[in-house]
Amino acid sequence: MSLEYTSAEMMTVTAARALENGTTCFVGIGLPSEAANLARLTHAPDVVLIYESGTLQTKPDVLPLSIGDGELCETALTTVSVPEMFRYWLQGGKIDVGFLGTAQIDRYCNLNTTLIGDYTAPKVRLPGGGGAPEIATNAGEVFITLKHSRRTFVDGVDFVTTLGFGRDGKGRDGVPNIGKGPTRVITDLCVMKPDPETKELVVVSLHPGVTAEQVQEATGWEIRFAEQLETTAEPSEKELEVLRELKARTERHHSGE
């Protein structure tokens, strides 16, 4: 039996599965938020979702449009100030997983959300770092999820907003009190993990129906593939149902006043 699903759904479901039950997760807005809430509504009911707006252990019924929608506060265990969030909860070492999106990523998982082009005369000005620079270094580990394309997977980011493993893969070596960094990248085509030694991203799993050529085509550098290349498990009926309901609820909610 094969279900019908989109590559975006495949990505979200795969990202959601990465989150274990009971984990404390500092959630970025957008794709990470969608995946983290899907996890909470399926296999990980006790995952603790934390948003940088100060909402601790929140259980939104619809996906927030902003990082500080009222929904997040109303369903949270408690809401703390933003300085406290970054100081006690993130820097204080209480976060297992930071879940991030990005505009650009390179082979060493460095993230750029600052700009395309030159800093003083940008071609495209992006929103900036937000919480990411410290989420990436203070969380125990980091998951990244984004759509796969040559625009996003680039051979050297224009700007290192957020450290993956540095331009040479050694950016975390010898740095005290720093998290493990990115441990997996989930796209609409595949799952990648950093090589344990070099920290260069390696494709470890292709989504059903995706070929290695497609991944290479969508990647701005010559990407490596694991010797034991797996096929990502398909979304289950339950996962798709919950995800679609979540997105439908969200759509209805945000198109109202």
Partner: protein
């Protein structure tokens, strides 16, 4: 001691051309009414400080009030770019805006340090980021006990901070509830402060550890009903998410932005 003023008078008295102004509210309680009053009064050359510039700063920048922006995330949350900010940074319209860019953690700590009367904030931050290369206010110090290298940023001490809150009592004590962001820190860190509120009540009905800012730590209180709209006020009205999406279209084009500004700000009177 907080004085109850009209929003017009509060802005006229405390927001000077050239001032450093922090208007805070972390996606919640964003002081839009006060921002519009600043636009109406034609304030110029402001250095604006805010973690998440949001639509309010997009409007102030597009209206030509702003010389410099200090921020850590400048987007339309969940929607996309702030087109007026981008137009100013990329194309210099209506004029070039200088930017100074931080991470959220650093700005949150810098507000905290400002409230704490310190000249600097220390954090475990900016490791491996290029931001210190483009922001010369980010420095690093060595911990005298462990030798660890930590980031240091100057504390934020605005000339005036403007925040919105749910309610004040008749002595000017203010209750902020829900996502409290960095509002209390912004008020305490500033030389002067304006707090707009939904209403003035006899009794705040605050629990023992509620986020209450005493009236003697505030300069002006101004009533601005729906003063955070299209952002929201917990317990009063929800976020107008649809307007946030519509803003993407309005702000993308200079003419449609100007038309919107004319109709919704310049000709909207405002609290007087």
């Amino acid at each position: 001691m907080a004085e109850v003023l009209s929003l017009h008078d509060a802005v006229a008295r405390y927001v000077d051309d050239g001032a450093t102004v922090a208007m805070e509210g972390f996606t919640h309680l964003i002081p839009f009414a006060a921002g519009h009053e600043i636009i109406r009064q034609g304030k110029r050359d402001l250095t604006l400080v805010r973690m998440t510039p949001d639509l309010i700063y997009d409007q102030l920048i597009g209206a030509g009030c702003v010389k410099k922006l200090i921020f850590s995330w400048g987007g339309n949350p969940g929607v996309g770019s702030l087109h007026r900010l981008r137009d100013a940074v990329e194309k210099g319209w209506p004029h070039k805006v200088e930017i100074l860019e931080h991470s959220h953690a650093a700005m949150a700590c810098a507000y905290e340090a400002g409230a704490a009367g310190l000249p600097l904030a220390v954090l475990r931050g900016y490791i491996g980021s290029d931001l210190p290369k483009v922001n010369d206010q980010i420095k690093f110090i060595e911990c005298p006990f462990t030798g660890e290298r930590l980031a240091a940023v100057p504390s934020i001490r605005p000339d005036v901070s403007v925040v919105h809150a749910q309610k004040a009592d008749r002595k000017g004590n203010v209750l902020v509830e829900g996502i409290v962001g960095v509002q209390k820190e912004a008020v305490l860190a500033a030389r002067r402060s304006i707090v707009t509120v939904e209403e003035i009540v006899d009794d705040l009905e605050a629990t023992p550890n509620a986020c209450v800012i005493p009236g003697w730590a505030i300069d002006a209180i101004a009533v601005a009903e729906k003063g955070a709209y299209p952002s929201y006020a917990h317990g009063y009205y929800p976020r107008h998410n649809r307007f946030y999406k519509e803003w993407d279209t309005i702000a993308r084009d200079r003419d449609s932005f100007n038309a919107w500004l004319e109709e919704n700000v310049y000709n909207a009177g405002g609290a007087s």
